[in-house]
Symmetry: C2
Subunit: 159 residues, 2 copies
DNA sequence: CACGCATGGTTCGCCACACGAACTATTTAC
DNA sequence: GTAAATAGTTCGTGTGGCGAACCATGCGTG
């Protein structure tokens, strides 16, 4: 009997924490005049420029959705399309000056807020949580959404 | 230096697992011809009928957003508005026959998929993860989104 | 009782988002 | 050098989300 309970327990915990993080993330974005998607785009681009296709893979968006997102972000002066000198079809999406600053500010604020969520856990528990979640994430090949800063996007050169 | 690393570690882990769960949830919904929001609505209503205001609080949606969501779901024959006999302004949103069946099927499928995410963890680790995440969720008063089944929505009578 | 305020929902106008299908332009493969 | 793959855009459609304005009904106080 304990088995069954445990099983839906993980699911529930995952789903609810996901909603929680989402809500906080969206709230932070809103505070900076961003939609969650734009915020996410900015955070991804903080690490390095990306081509549209790569972005689509990272953000799990269809090409057309991405085109529109980049269009809107461009109109707001946050990002810019630059021609890829190796492939004249392709495009590199990069942060503008303004976009970079906003990204930095938003990123910091979002991290701060999310960091407060597990305030009830002590250091050891936080470490455990991090370790377990990281493994789940790695096991399910989640792209490097959010935070490519210290992680230095190693695959960038190697392709 | 170890401190700083740990800090962004929790944040990253939370954000990425959140994206992961979201993606899986959305995929499951899509498989059943639902949008994630509709799926969420159905799952919430599985436990019991709700008034619009309550729903708005649970789903964190503005009133108008909810009206539209319920409209669309009604048009698809998934839910139904019933008059509240105690308050003639109010409305109770309930699942239709069809909506109930679909909710059940979707809910089961979504749970199965999400349950597979932590497949790399052993029983003890899953239990730990559940416990830690549950505490985070409880500490941040997340409404009872998803799963009100075994949890029997106790506040329903007491108000 | 009547006035006014609070509450529960809907309507409206606006914009963001997400997708597939169809299209253009380049690159690559043969 | 043509054919197929690849990178992006455009277009049409439906969904989602919000605030402001609005209509009812309920409620409280003089």
């Amino acid at each position: 009997m304990g088995k069954a309970e445990e099983n839906w327990g993980v699911v529930t915990a995952l789903v609810r924490s996901s909603f929680l993080v989402n809500a906080v993330y969206a709230e932070a974005a809103r505070e900076y005049g961003l939609t969650p998607q734009q915020g996410q785009l900015l955070c991804v681009l903080m690490a390095q420029p990306y081509g549209m296709s790569e972005l689509g893979a990272v953000l799990r968006l269809a090409k057309s959705s991405l085109t529109e997102l980049v269009n809107r972000s461009t109109q707001r002066g946050l990002v810019r399309r630059e021609p890829d000198r190796k492939d004249r079809r392709a495009v590199q999406v990069t942060l503008t000056e303004q976009g970079g600053e906003l990204a930095e500010a938003f990123y910091t604020a979002a991290c701060r807020r999310i960091d407060e969520l597990p305030a009830g856990l002590d250091e050891a528990e936080r470490a455990t949580l991090t370790e377990l979640l990281s493994r789940v994430v790695r096991d399910n090949n989640v792209p490097m959404v959010f935070l490519g800063r210290d992680e230095a996007a190693p695959s960038a050169h190697g392709r």
